[in-house]
């Protein structure tokens, strides 16, 4: 429809008639002198699409002054704003209160907003770690009291010390306010590396000047309403290429009142190739895709997803929905004019779900059986069988061994420890232990128990900061690391918050192999070596007490395990459920709803926030049951869509409109090669058998290696097996080594027709070429060969003089193919 509007504007098409006009906000209360509100007008067209027509309507107002689409209160009482467009009218009701009451000044809000909107406190400028040009500001005005200090008293910030460095030069001049550096620099009256940031005739200039003239007070603090949240309209903007959408930012305050904040924030686009945004919040579509508009207010950061969409799809079909996942995904697809692919074929679904739930390819006989079944519930029954299978336990033990870092070097330098830790993970998976219980046990583990092994990498307790950051990343999906040395430059995490959290691990000690929390009120021999049990803030050098991310320091019993309280709080926090479901979702779709799965931040918003919330709620409601979560995911139609795409969803990478082909992880791929060829892999503890001390039992699968770092495997190294020295981030990018290994490596070449192999057995039973081809197709691709494939392959084999050599090459081609190496 917007394309139609665009073409209409060029005079190329007859104007479509809107069927409805709507103004936003429909009702609003303006409080205080000079309070104003911007209004937006949205037209709805016969096909259901909507367009921002704010700039095209005729605005009128009663009992309010009007400048373009912004109304300002005059006197207490009712007022209206009306929009007229293409014969349609819409009206918004305004209630004006205390129209003559001047608002109290607050440095945090009034000066903070200017510094934020003018990018003075951006992380690239004075909001950087050490500030810029001798002035340090908190990023995004997160810490207004610090900002007030730096501006009114001056001084240079030091990262590792709270002491003020050098001469203190105030940025204001109360004796001659106009000569304040805070004004002269952004006006470029004095050289300013950041360039001109302020105009002398602007409201912002006057606000700062008047503030300095009035003695530069900090202003209202206690008793004044504080900014509680930002709401963006529309919650998700969709617009065509070259289309525009104005954003309306509404601030909600702690006393419940709201204010239009659209002109007090800084807008920026996460991806200028998809959409740009003007300083006054008008988003312009540049290229098809999705991005987010970041909105920075003083002390707050919010984001608004934006979809730059293709043309409307006539007669968009009703897509069947299996559960709430489909509701969220398909609603969005409808909105962004993308049609989902068809549901995957049984063969496609079978291979995908087997790999995703168990890391195991279905054997040919099971493929035949499943494809032949006519039971409408066969997919659900299959999922139940897979989730109950021992292969499920094997696979998810492997998955969580990755996240939880089961490795000799990560677990105290001894395979005994790492194997014990692995067994603990396996027991939890096998018994489907609620994930919140698992998390609590791991977070608060002490003694000689398996779960405590991860606290002693290299046989030493890790530094509290590192340990805490890892736990938060694993269970909260957030990376606080930047706040270790300074306030986080992009997020609302302060250095104090970081160290408050780290302090939960500050009493963690080991006595031999025993992990314990040293009571803070007991000596326990510390005086003998002048040792103190404390966590020092690196900047202030203060002894930091444990404090939860969202709270003040806790009054914990001094001889209790402080991590128990942390574990209780973390697992009850909404972050835990959303990070957990997002991580699991990522395994099934190749990307998280927030992606990377452990990088939740306001500048990296979820593609489907409603879906994330619904999954988290369902996970929590069902007792943090991982199997239930996985079953819900794989039974959704979204998961079961085909990887075959069509023109409207070909370029979609974020909306799950089709299945996304994903490289199979190294261990699973090696097991798949073994399964298809029928030749087991031998895992030894050294490069050569002679030097090996140990060897994994015959037929051990790669995913079942308890201490993978003990077993050498050229294949696994080449295909990206992580060493688990840090939380693994697997790369699925192909490399030259893989290509060479495919051509000459033992995994591919040495097992094609060895005794006991699938091919050898088939040859020995006198199987025809056609039977052999089909058998390998079923084993590798979970499907029969297409007629054309069969014809081509049998011809190729018959043309080759040496039948066995030809069949070996065929097997090699199968296991080297992209279709085999990917899950799709």
């Amino acid at each position: 429809m917007r394309l139609c509007l665009f073409l209409t504007s060029l005079g190329l098409l007859a104007a479509p008639k809107p069927v409805k006009l709507q103004t936003v906000p429909a009702t609003v209360t303006l409080t205080g002198a000079g309070a104003s509100q911007q209004f937006l007008a949205t037209a709805t067209y016969p096909d259901g699409t909507q367009a921002d027509v704010t700039a095209d309507v005729k605005w009128t107002a009663k009992n309010a002054t009007l400048q373009a689409n912004r109304a300002t209160a005059i006197t207490d009482g009712p007022a209206t704003v009306e929009a007229e467009f293409d014969g349609l009218r819409a009206k918004s009701q305004i209630t004006v209160k205390n129209a003559t009451a001047q608002r109290s000044f607050a440095f945090a809000r009034d000066i903070g907003s200017i510094l934020t909107k003018r990018t003075c406190n951006s992380s690239a400028c004075h909001g950087g770690v050490k500030g810029r040009g001798g002035l340090k500001l908190s990023a995004n005005a997160l810490f207004p009291k610090d900002d007030y200090e730096w501006i009114t008293k001056g001084g240079a910030y030091q990262v590792l010390s709270a002491e003020i460095k050098g001469e203190r030069v105030p940025r204001i001049n109360p004796a001659d306010p106009e000569k304040s550096l805070l004004l002269q620099k952004p006006l470029m009256q004095i050289a300013h590396g950041g360039g001109k940031k302020l105009e002398k005739d602007s409201d912002d200039y006057r606000t700062i000047l008047n503030w300095v003239k009035s003695g530069a007070p900090y202003g209202a603090e206690g008793g004044i309403a504080t900014l509680a949240s930002l709401e963006i309209y529309p919650p998700m903007a969709t617009l065509p290429v070259a289309g525009a959408q104005r954003l309306l930012v509404t601030a909600k305050f702690s006393d419940g009142h709201t204010e239009d904040y659209s002109n007090q924030v800084l807008f920026s686009s996460n991806n200028g190739e998809v959409a740009t945004v003007t300083p006054d919040g008008i988003v312009k579509g540049k290229g098809l895709g999705e991005t987010a508009i970041l909105i920075r207010a003083a002390g707050f950061l919010a984001s608004a997803p934006v979809g730059v969409i293709g043309p409307a799809i006539p007669n968009y079909p009703a897509v069947p929905r299996a559960n709430f996942i489909d509701d969220a995904v398909f609603s969005k697809l409808r909105k962004v004019n993308i049609l989902p692919s068809d549901i995957a074929s049984d063969a496609e679904f079978l291979r995908r779900v087997c790999l995703d739930l168990t890391g195991t390819l279905p054997p040919p006989e099971r493929v035949r059986e499943f494809l032949a079944l006519r039971d409408p519930k066969k997919r659900e029954k299959l999922v139940d069988a897979l989730i109950a299978s021992p292969e499920f336990t094997d696979y998810w033990t492997f998955r969580f061994s990755d996240i939880f870092r089961v490795a000799i070097f990560a677990n105290g330098l001894t395979p005994k420890f790492s194997q014990k830790y692995w067994e603990w993970i396996r027991d939890n998976i096998a018994t489907n232990r609620p994930y919140d219980e698992v998390a609590r046990e791991r977070l608060s583990a002490e003694g000689y128990g398996a779960a405590s092994r991860h606290f002693i990498p290299y046989n030493q307790i890790g530094p509290p900061a590192d340990v805490m950051a890892e736990e938060v990343r694993v269970f909260f999906g957030r990376r606080l690391d930047c706040a270790q040395c300074h306030n986080h430059p992009y997020e609302n995490w302060s250095q104090d918050q970081f160290w408050g959290m780290a302090a939960f691990f500050g009493r963690l000690f080991k006595a031999g192999p025993v992990v314990f929390d040293h009571p803070s009120n007991m000596d326990w021999g510390s005086k003998d070596v002048d040792g103190k049990i404390e966590v020092l803030h690196p900047r202030t050098k203060a002894n930091v007490k444990p404090a939860l991310l969202d709270a003040s320091p806790l009054a914990l019993k001094e001889d209790a395990n402080p991590r128990k309280e942390l574990a209780r709080w973390m697992t009850a926090h909404p972050y835990f459920a959303e990070a957990s479901v997002n991580r699991i979702w990522g395994y099934f779709f190749g990307r998280g709803i927030v992606d990377p799965v452990d990088d939740f931040r306001s500048t990296n918003p979820a593609t489907h926030p409603d879906l994330l919330a619904a999954l988290a709620k369902d996970f929590q409601k069902n007792g943090y049951n991982l199997r239930h979560l996985m079953k819900t995911i794989v039974l959704s139609r979204t998961y079961q869509l085909s990887h075959q795409h069509h023109p409207t969803n070909k370029s979609d990478v974020t909306n799950y409109s089709h299945s996304w082909s994903r490289a199979i992880d190294a261990e699973v791929l090696l097991d798949a090669v073994v399964a298809v060829t029928g030749v087991p892999e031998t895992f030894t503890t050294a490069v050569s058998d002679e030097r090996a001390v140990g060897q994994a039992p015959a037929n051990t699968r790669a995913i079942n290696l308890k201490d993978p770092d003990m077993y050498f495997s050229r294949f696994l190294e080449l295909y990206g097996r992580p060493n688990r020295g840090a939380i693994p981030e697997r790369s699925s990018r192909p490399n030259l080594g893989q290509a060479l290994h495919m051509l000459a490596g033992a995994t591919y070449v040495d097992r094609l027709a060895t005794p006991g192999s699938r091919l050898r057995k088939l040859l020995d039973t006198g199987a025809t070429d056609e039977k052999i081809i089909n058998e390998f197709y079923l084993a590798a691709y979970a499907r029969s060969a297409e007629k054309e494939e069969l014809t081509d392959l049998t011809q190729l084999i018959s043309k080759r003089g040496d039948r066995e050599a030809a069949l070996r090459e065929f097997v090699w081609a199968i296991i080297s193919s992209r279709e085999f190496a990917e899950n799709h």
Binding site: G447, V514, G525, D559
Partner: protein, 545 residues
């Protein structure tokens, strides 16, 4: 220089390569039944005889040979009564180290020939109790056993290693730490023949000084066929990986390992008896005229010497008891954990003054030599000079805040210090010397609780032509730890003396070892005390290589 010359002389006088027995398979036999066993090792192929160390054990050599890089000796073994035995091999190069052997009442089945790595080739177990001897003969090998169980039936499974694991007593670089897994052939959607693991044990925990043999009992929910799989830890294996495996009906308790005969007062499991003051006095060369130690429950007042008993049954519990000191007194605090010892139960003992301040604890704190980081470790014995009279409180708690159970039993003995000789170690297991040769043997001893007396070491029952001299050897200086903490409270002062065994040029060659006895006694106030340690060392005079 003189010391160096002495060492050079001694080195020149040593016999050829020492015979070393590494493993024996099987290492278990049935009472009264002769069985064949193979000893593998180095320099044993010319073995002439076996030298039993206990009466009743009869061993003869069947043949010897070489297999790969190892040599072997095949033996015929028989013993009339069950028990733990040991023996050595006698070769042209001398006597070997000692090899353990157990004789039991029950019949033993050897692992059948062939591999048993699949259910199809599993060794059948037709009835319980069943006892097998077998071997994880190759790296990565597993042995399957097949058996039937009734619904609700409980069975006990135990596997003992013939090659102690690394870290266990007698362990070597290729130790054998066996594990047990129980499987049911329940199949899966992918593989109807798949074995699914029901239970697993690779414990007891790997605690230095303890064995790692696997022990497991399991109750089977369903009647049917089951499999048990034996593995070596981390896929190790080879001809030395001999095991003893038994399946017993019901839930049997684990037999305690044989107790250590040597005195070691710095372990949590030694018994702190009421007669301990006398035991210590004797080791200090004093008469046994000390009073016995009273036992008290926690929560009461007590008088020194005392043993306090309790159990940390609930997380966070701390137990206290008070006592009065009327004048300066040097005290010792010892901790015994009769059921569960560290790292499972970790008792922290603190001595508090009347204000509640910590005076001393059994935590040894020090700083790491590399990073200077604060390290801590619990100790079973602490000594401390109490200088101020007054009321003191003993507090006992578990190291962790959240762990507790009925097995967290402790006995804390607080007593005046009694100077004595502590642990004594005589380093050699056997001595093989050529005529004209000599060898030094170090005897190491701990001076406990400020024992200032002398130590007398003598050797009896030497072979003809062998004599022993007092000697000294070179001990290089070591840098003291940079941040030692209060070591003197937790670590005894260790010293050593050296014996030089020498053989006359014309000494007759031995045909069998002669067992000499090294005896250690304290010497106090000019008088030798009773024997407090002795060790038998087989000695042979052998031809020069």
């Amino acid at each position: 220089m003189r010391t160096l010359l002495l060492v050079c002389t001694f080195a020149a006088g040593l016999s050829g390569a020492d015979p070393r027995a590494i493993s024996m398979h099987p290492f278990t036999g049935q009472r009264g039944l002769a069985f064949t066993a193979t000893v593998r090792g180095n320099n044993i192929k010319d073995a002439k005889a076996a030298f039993p160390e206990q009466p009743g054990l009869r061993i003869s050599i069947l043949n010897t040979g070489t297999e790969g890089k190892s040599q072997f000796v095949k033996l015929n073994i028989e013993a009339p009564t069950p028990g733990r035995y040991s023996f050595r091999l006698v070769t042209d190069s001398g006597v070997s180290n000692s090899l353990p052997l157990q004789i039991i009442d029950q019949p033993i089945l050897p692992e059948p020939a062939g591999t048993h790595e699949t259910p199809a080739t599993a060794i059948p177990v037709t009835a319980t109790p069943a006892i097998f001897t077998g071997m994880i003969a190759q790296k990565g090998e597993t042995d399957f056993y097949a058996f039937d169980a009734k619904a609700g039936e409980t069975m006990t499974f135990q596997v003992l290693s013939g090659l102690p694991s690394i870290g266990a007593p007698g362990g070597n670089a290729n130790g054998f730490d066996p594990s047990i897994s129980i499987y049911e052939p329940a199949g899966s959607w992918f593989d109807p023949a798949r074995l699914n693991r029901l239970a697993f044990n690779d414990e007891p925990l790997w605690v230095l000084g303890r064995g790692t043999d696997a022990f497991l009992h399991h109750t089977f929910k369903k009647a049917g066929r089951y499999y048990v799989r034996l593995d070596a830890f981390s896929g190790q294996g080879g001809p030395d990986y001999s095991y003893y495996f038994r399946i017993l009906p019901g839930a049997q308790t684990l037999e305690p390992p044989p107790g250590k005969a040597d005195w070691d007062e710095r372990t949590y499991t030694r018994a702190l008896s009421a007669d301990r003051l006398n035991d210590l006095a004797q080791r200090g060369g004093k008469p046994r005229t000390q009073k016995s130690v009273e036992t008290y429950r926690m929560g009461s007042k007590f008088a020194l010497p005392a043993t306090l008993e309790g159990t940390i049954a609930q997380p966070g519990e701390s137990h206290r008891a008070t006592f009065q000191v009327d004048g300066p007194q040097d005290i010792a605090i010892e901790v015994e954990t009769p059921d569960l010892a560290p790292p499972l139960f970790n008792p922290v003992v603190r001595l508090l003054d009347a204000k509640g301040d910590e005076v001393v604890t059994n935590f040894f704190a020090g700083r790491g030599a590399c990073t200077g980081a604060l390290n801590k470790g619990l100790t079973p014995k602490t000594i401390f000079p109490l200088r101020n009279p007054g009321t003191y409180t003993v507090e006992v708690r578990e190291l962790t805040a959240d762990l507790a159970e009925t097995g967290f039993k402790y006995r804390v003995q607080i007593r005046p210090q009694v100077p004595h000789l502590g642990k004594i170690a005589i380093e050699e297991d056997h001595i093989n010397l050529a005529p004209g040769g000599a060898k030094t043997v170090r005897v190491t001893f701990d001076r406990e609780e400020d024992y200032r007396g002398a130590v007398a070491v003598s050797v009896e029952n030497l072979p003809e032509g062998v004599s022993v001299l007092a000697a000294a050897d070179y001990e290089p200086d070591k840098d003291p730890p940079p941040f030692p903490g209060k070591r003197e409270r937790y670590v005894p002062r260790t010293e050593r003396t050296v014996l030089a065994f020498s053989v006359a040029d014309n000494a007759a060659l031995s045909t069998l070892p002669k067992v000499a006895r090294v005896i250690v006694r304290p010497v106090v106030d000019g008088k030798p005390g009773a024997t407090i340690a002795s060790k038998e060392i087989p000695i042979m005079v052998v031809a020069k290589p």
